[in-house]
């Protein structure tokens, strides 16, 4: 089995097709090599969207009591093990537990809560601005929905013919008098969400524009190709 690519073995672990021995082997590789660990992490992220599609069922009210009970019994077992080994702890036994509790209490607890409570909000932030992009004949060709964090959903309104060796590139002007900034590429001429970082939250009257650019995006990082459509953002009324 060693001739199989590492990628394939990692994917099988992620989708749940690997044997327990195989999982243990990959975990050992991850512990030894951060590159493998980040490959596994990337593979997990590819599929995690499928977990979000499960029904959001409320946890039974006694679940926390049950969890507490099993944690308590686990700790008791640990205490017994310590006593049998006749090791006198140098620090009060509780300290470690408290540290673990504190560690658990921060990042993970937040994430557990987010998971437990469902995170449709985090998945699709409500748009704070919406722009309808029009072509040169005034026909609507795309709707742009921008969120506070500049996660931008582009919905194309017609099948666009992208010239050969070209891609669509989405631009915006966060500063009215500044240069356009790229939000990303629409390689497949399909609707999708783009995520840009380091930009101020979008505002009303902000310009959005889609241009055709050479494959890989504009070489100058400014729009160079023909404009497919453009429009100014409005704030939706909720």
């Amino acid at each position: 089995m060693t001739d199989r690519s590492l990628h394939e073995r990692i994917d099988e672990v992620v989708v749940g097709l690997a044997s327990e021995a195989e999982v243990a082997e990959i975990e050992a590789l991850c512990a030894a090599d951060p590159d493998v660990a980040s490959q596994l992490e990337r593979a997990r992220r590819r599929y995690v969207a499928l977990d979000y599609t499960a029904d959001n069922l409320p946890l039974p009210s006694d679940l926390w009591t049950r969890i507490e009970a099993s944690l308590d019994s686990e700790q008791e077992r640990q205490v017994e093990a310590d006593t049998s080994a006749e090791i006198i702890p140098l620090t009060p036994r509780n300290t470690q537990g408290r540290w673990r509790a504190a560690a658990f209490g921060s990042a993970i607890a937040a994430a557990v809560l987010a998971v437990a409570l469902g995170f449709s909000l985090a998945m699709a932030p409500e748009p704070t601005v919406i722009a309808v992009l029009l072509d040169s004949k005034g026909q609507p060709i795309a709707v742009v929905e921008g969120a506070e964090n500049n996660q931008t959903l582009i919905t194309l309104l017609e099948n666009t013919r992208v010239p050969a060796n070209s891609v669509m590139q989405v631009w915006t002007k966060p500063d009215e008098n500044g240069p356009p900034v790229s939000l990303g590429l629409l390689a497949a001429a399909r609707s999708r969400t783009l995520t840009a970082t380091g930009l101020p939250p979008p505002r009303a009257e902000q310009l959005y524009e889609i241009t055709f650019e050479p494959t890989g995006g504009s070489p100058t990082n400014l729009p160079t190709g023909p404009i497919l459509g453009k429009g100014f953002a409005k704030e939706p009324v909720y």
Binding site: A37, R46, R66
Partner: protein
């Protein structure tokens, strides 16, 4: 979280057990979580799904199958709901759309329902060799599509 476990285990009581076990495991393993490396949510789901898989592989599958009728939803219905719930603009959905139905079904059955190669072959009425090939090629195509 319960929804993910329920989908795999097909039984409310087993699903609750799995979520409970998952929380205990999170408590025990939290020191292993590397915030720089990973996304906490993906990590939590990994632990939960692994726990469900262990429950399934340890023989509880038989019990779960007996109860299938009580849970009503067929495999196809569960997979279809999951697939349709992926946003149209989600990269994974876009890439899954490019796979032929056999490959897509095989991969979704393993991720969502926790099926092994053999179980997928049994459910789809296909030779084991074909299922293994579909999965291998499907995973490769998704990897390239999502790169």
């Amino acid at each position: 979280m319960l929804g993910v476990a329920r989908r795999m285990l097909r039984r409310a009581d087993l699903a609750e057990d799995a979520v409970q076990d998952c929380f205990v495991l999170l408590w025990r393993k939290c020191s292993q979580f590397d915030a720089r490396q990973g996304q906490a949510k993906a990590w939590i789901y990994t632990i939960l799904r692994n726990r469900c898989l262990t429950l399934l592989r340890n023989g509880d599958r038989e019990i779960a199958l007996d109860e299938d009728k009580a849970e009503k939803a067929s495999d196809e219905a569960i997979l279809e709901v999951a697939y349709n719930r992926l946003e149209r603009t989600n990269d994974l959905r876009i890439c899954l759309e490019t796979l032929d139905p056999n490959k897509r079904m095989a991969i979704l059955s393993s991720y969502i329902l926790g099926y092994s190669h053999g179980e997928i072959a049994g459910r789809m009425g296909a030779p084991l060799g074909s299922v293994k090939a579909w999965v291998r090629r499907g995973l490769l195509m998704l990897r390239e599509c999502l790169a």
